[in-house]
């Protein structure tokens, strides 16, 4: 569920970048006072492990598809949430830079969706308290369901983040309700699968190296401990799972069920009333805070238009007049010509196979 630049508006991108940047700075400050001496190489090698692990798929029985782990929860368990967040941030950065999996502008939002939601919500609020409650030697089944629950929650929150960011940016016309119905159930399924896989890995490693998991059994020293009763947490988690929407079929041959889900949907244009109510709420919120002065949220009832108030900015009509079309075609041709010239010159001067 990597977000791309193309769906962002500058304001939303900047906001989530700010949030992630603040978290990064805070996490790196916390690391400086961390007692663990071996954290620097450990973070690097474990981040490389997660990166590698994401390229090795397991089959999901009963479907013809495969999946892989995200790694956020695993890193949080082995490194603690602050170091894990930085490690996840580094993996996301490499993915954005080398594999164009998520854009530069979207990197902040991706760090938020996939880093903050697992390391600072799912791990400390679900996994850690439940594991402490489970005692020194929890059974495999217990570890499995706690891990799965935490993974599901992390993914649900991350998917929710994607939906919110897309909606606030206003580049996509997908209505809120429809998008939620698309994203949440798919990521529920992905979360279940990923959670089971992560649990399998944790159980394996726990048996070989129980010392690595001792920190979860101990009370937190420096940070104020979040004392939340397990029952409340389980209820909260169940609510999160239910709000994810209807149980859907198992995802996907795709590691990223997002593409799968979108490809499969044949366009549920039925934007429920619930959708427009949330819209109205968001719209009024936006009007009051003037968060996005240049953009209006798309609403289902009226056709949406970008703000035509400032005559200086191009409107829809400007690009679609005859001059605009002629100019557009000519510009496109010019750009293509420049590209061909560059390519020809490169072919002549370099002996590199594209």
């Amino acid at each position: 569920m990597h977000m791309a630049d193309a769906l962002f508006s500058p304001a939303v991108g900047a906001t989530f970048w700010a949030a992630s940047a603040v978290t990064l700075v805070a996490a790196s400050r916390r690391l400086q006072s961390d007692q663990r001496e071996d954290l620097v190489p450990l973070m690097g090698v474990l981040a490389a492990f997660v990166f590698t692990a994401q390229m090795i798929n397991f089959t999901i029985p009963g479907t013809g598809s495969s999946g892989h782990i995200g790694g956020g929860l695993l890193l949080s368990i082995l490194l603690g949430p602050h170091a894990a967040f930085i490690a996840i941030a580094s993996v996301l950065t490499v993915q954005a830079l080398f594999f164009a999996d998520g854009g530069l502008l979207a990197l902040g939002a991706n760090m938020f969706n996939m880093g903050v939601c697992t390391c600072f919500v799912a791990y400390p609020l679900i996994y850690r308290p439940l594991m402490r409650h489970a005692g020194a030697k929890p059974s495999r089944q217990r570890v499995a369901w706690i891990t799965t629950l935490a993974t599901v929650l992390g993914l649900q929150l991350g998917a929710l983040g994607v939906v919110v960011q897309t909606q606030l940016s206003g580049i996509s016309s997908l209505p809120l309700g429809g998008f939620l119905l698309l994203m949440q159930p798919i990521h529920l399924a992905i979360g279940l699968v990923e959670g089971v896989a992560t649990a399998a890995l944790i159980v394996f490693v726990r048996e070989a190296r129980p010392d690595l998991f001792a920190r979860d059994a101990l009370p937190a020293q420096a940070a104020p401990q979040v004392r939340v009763p397990a029952r409340w947490l389980a209820g909260f988690a169940a609510l999160a799972v239910l709000t994810g929407g209807v149980m859907s079929w198992f995802a996907s041959s795709h590691p990223d069920g997002l593409e799968w889900s979108i490809a499969r949907v044949t366009g549920q244009a039925n934007v429920a009333d619930g959708g427009s109510r949330v819209h109205a709420l968001l719209a009024s919120l936006q009007a009051e805070t003037a968060l996005l002065p240049d953009y209006a949220l798309p609403s289902a009832s009226e056709p949406s238009r970008s703000e035509p108030e400032q005559p200086a900015w191009p409107t829809v009509e400007a690009g679609t007049s005859l001059a605009g079309i002629v100019g557009g075609v000519v510009t496109f041709a010019l750009v293509l010509l420049v590209g061909l010239v560059v390519r020809r010159r490169q072919r002549l001067t370099l002996h590199v196979q594209p």
Partner: protein
């Protein structure tokens, strides 16, 4: 497995591209990072229906490719295989945004198609610019540039270590998978129990390696932070590059160049 090896070869090839001495490579990495970031901001600041107005911005990635001697084909191929999430979300736009927009000559088009086209163009522009930034700079100078711009050293150190040890670990993983496959196991898509065992062993080995790396670091005087390497000097060409590109971006953002060009051509033709 083939995808992974191909992916790693791509990383290596991007590194090699960056190692060449080119006009782009000689620029300070900070200038390049800031310019590409500014480019991305300008691209996404257009309104959702901007299509032709975005086109002149394509000259920037083309310019980067030319200045960095980076094969366009490589970049375009990577753009094509990049994660299509944005495009798939964009595909819903014509469905949900059915407002009709008048084109010249009495034709009409759904506004959703315009916004979809805009998303596609934004996607190509931002993805290619990012790839060109990396190919024209290299990971190491990029990390130095990021640190100089204020990114916490904890993160930039991790980027370098991650890059270093990914190649080591994927080598181990490949060998383990191959050994497994040669004994009749699956090559891709392992059953969960075998997957957990394979990755579990890989994780244990990674942890042992991390401990050895730590011992090696300690043995050479490591005291908590990796040393800061030499910084790059900011020169006038960097200022020129940054300001020149920024001016171009502002111009394209403020003036609908294709429209103006079209108007001129029509007047000439009339």
């Amino acid at each position: 497995m083939c995808n992974r090896d191909a992916a790693l070869r791509e990383i290596a090839s991007l590194q090699d591209a960056a190692a060449r001495d080119t006009p782009l490579g000689r620029l300070d990495p900070r200038a390049k990072i800031l310019t590409v970031l500014g480019f991305a901001v300008v691209v996404v600041s257009f309104d959702r229906y901007a299509v032709t107005a975005l086109l002149p911005l394509a000259l920037f990635p083309l310019g980067l490719a030319a200045a960095g001697c980076i094969p366009l084909g490589v970049i375009l191929r990577k753009v094509l295989i990049a994660s299509p999430f944005a495009l798939m979300v964009g595909l819903f736009n014509p469905w949900f945004d059915t407002q009709s927009v008048a084109l010249a000559g009495g034709l009409h088009i759904g506004a959703g198609w315009l916004s979809l086209a805009s998303i596609v163009i934004r996607f190509v522009l931002t993805v290619s610019a990012t790839l060109l930034l990396v190919a024209g700079t290299g990971v190491v100078p990029l990390c130095h540039g990021l640190r100089a711009l204020g990114v916490p050293p904890a993160l930039t150190q991790q980027l370098l270590l991650l890059q270093r040890y990914t190649l080591v670990l994927t080598g181990e993983a490949t060998r383990m998978q191959l050994a497994h496959a040669l004994r009749g196991g699956a090559l891709r898509g392992l059953p969960l129990a075998q997957w957990a065992s394979l990755l579990g062993h890989l994780l244990l080995r990674a942890l042992q390696r991390a401990q050895r790396v730590h011992q090696a670091m300690l043995s050479r005087g490591f005291a908590g932070a990796l040393p800061v390497a030499n910084s790059y000097g900011w020169h006038s060409c960097d200022t020129l590059f940054l300001l020149g590109c920024s001016a171009f971006f502002v111009l394209v953002r403020g003036v609908h160049l294709p429209q103006a060009l079209g108007a001129v051509l029509l007047r000439v033709a009339a």
